[in-house]
Amino acid sequence: MFYFFLAFINETFAGNFYHQSITANFGLINFNLTENASSLTGEDTDSVSAGGTSNSSIFSFDLLYEFQNYASHSLFVKATGPLISSDNSGYFLGAIGVNKYFNSLSSLFTFSDGGSRMSIKPKLRYYLGAGFGVGFLVYNLEDAKKSDVVFDIDLHGGLSYLFGDRWGLRAEVGASKGTGIATSSYVLKGLIGINIFLETKNLFH
């Protein structure tokens, strides 16, 4: 009987008790980028070319899959893509990272033993997280539409509340720094969505 208790009190012990989860978020992503000076190209004019900057807000979709959960933190992979943009710009991202949870377990915990079953549902969770990924930016300048591949590092935080047995709402804000081949960008995000605990459990025991 102490074995399962060890699973949720020991932060590094994953076992086969924690459920994976998936979160679908919608929200606003605002990026502000500056083209790198070395890659600036301009038309052949009499005046010196100025550096390009772009600022855009995109209504985006974000899918987060937490595949490995421990008592207080989880590992995730996520994908972000644009849905609606006023100027046809776009922000695509694939990232991997870690979330650190407070005030509750990181995920749904279930344990079965000889017909008896215990489940621990995290009701209200706050979290902070960090991620690293590769993104693709499509941005507009005054006279051109361009794109760039960026390496993105982000920090984010939020909260999640469980309404049903397996689902809840999640809200997140974050900021990231992207360094690309041609650009340097800062991104702010505000997302809200639905979080669902899956039947499947941790990928690695």
């Binding site: 009987m1 208790f5 489940s119 549902k121 909260l159 804000v173 505000g190």
Partner: protein
């Protein structure tokens, strides 16, 4: 963006609330106790199905963040599990109590007796073949009951298969040397056919 952050700040106090401990059991109406693992103080807190706020258990009963829950019912083995109050978590416990072993054995013996009575009725109606089949499967399930081997022997004897009958009477006697009927029939058949264990081999 500002409006979203403001909404989140307003939402926090609204949705924060106490955590519950829900306990169900099969069978229901089982007593629930809380035990402090350090002092071993044991307090009854209710009967299943049961719901209580975790903070109430910690403050009023266990006096510890980590405690044992014990579910008890007469005729069933006690069930114990360790639980801790860790943040905002709802704990649901569904306990399947196991009957104590003597009750299981009594039920099995009761089932065996009912089947043997039915098989005896079959033997009386001279349905020896089906009766023997049923007795063979009972013998696999209850190998330590000499009565089953004895009854197989009787069925073979009534069916005029004396060698098979003798082997089962011998088996019944070896399982339980105090089985007088098996002993008498074993000796009778051995004398009738002039058989002993040495002669058989």
């Amino acid at each position: 963006m500002k409006n979203l952050i403001l909404f989140l700040c307003l939402l926090l106090p609204v949705i924060s609330k106490g955590n519950y401990l829900n306990i169900n059991s099969n069978p229901s109406s089982s007593d629930v106790f809380v035990i402090n693992p350090t002092t071993n103080k044991r307090v009854k807190i209710g009967r299943t199905p049961f719901e209580i706020q975790m903070q109430e258990v910690v403050t009023n009963f266990s006096e510890s963040q980590v405690f044992l829950i014990e579910v008890v019912k007469e005729g069933y083995e006690d069930y114990r599990v360790m639980v801790g109050q860790i943040g905002s978590n709802e704990v649901n416990l569904s306990v399947n109590l196991s009957p104590v072993k003597t009750i299981i054995e009594q039920k099995q013996t009761d089932e065996l007796m009912a089947q043997l009575f039915d098989i005896q009725r079959q033997i009386r109606t001279k349905d020896y073949s089906n009766a023997i089949d049923r007795l063979m499967s009972l013998d696999k399930k209850f190998p330590n009951y000499s009565i089953i081997s004895e009854l197989i022997g009787s069925a073979y004897y009534l069916d005029q298969k004396f060698k098979e009958a003798l082997s089962y009477y011998r088996k019944a006697f070896s399982i339980n040397p105090e089985n007088k009927d098996a002993f008498i029939m074993k000796n009778y058949l051995e004398k009738k056919f002039n058989l002993t264990l040495e002669k058989d081999s």
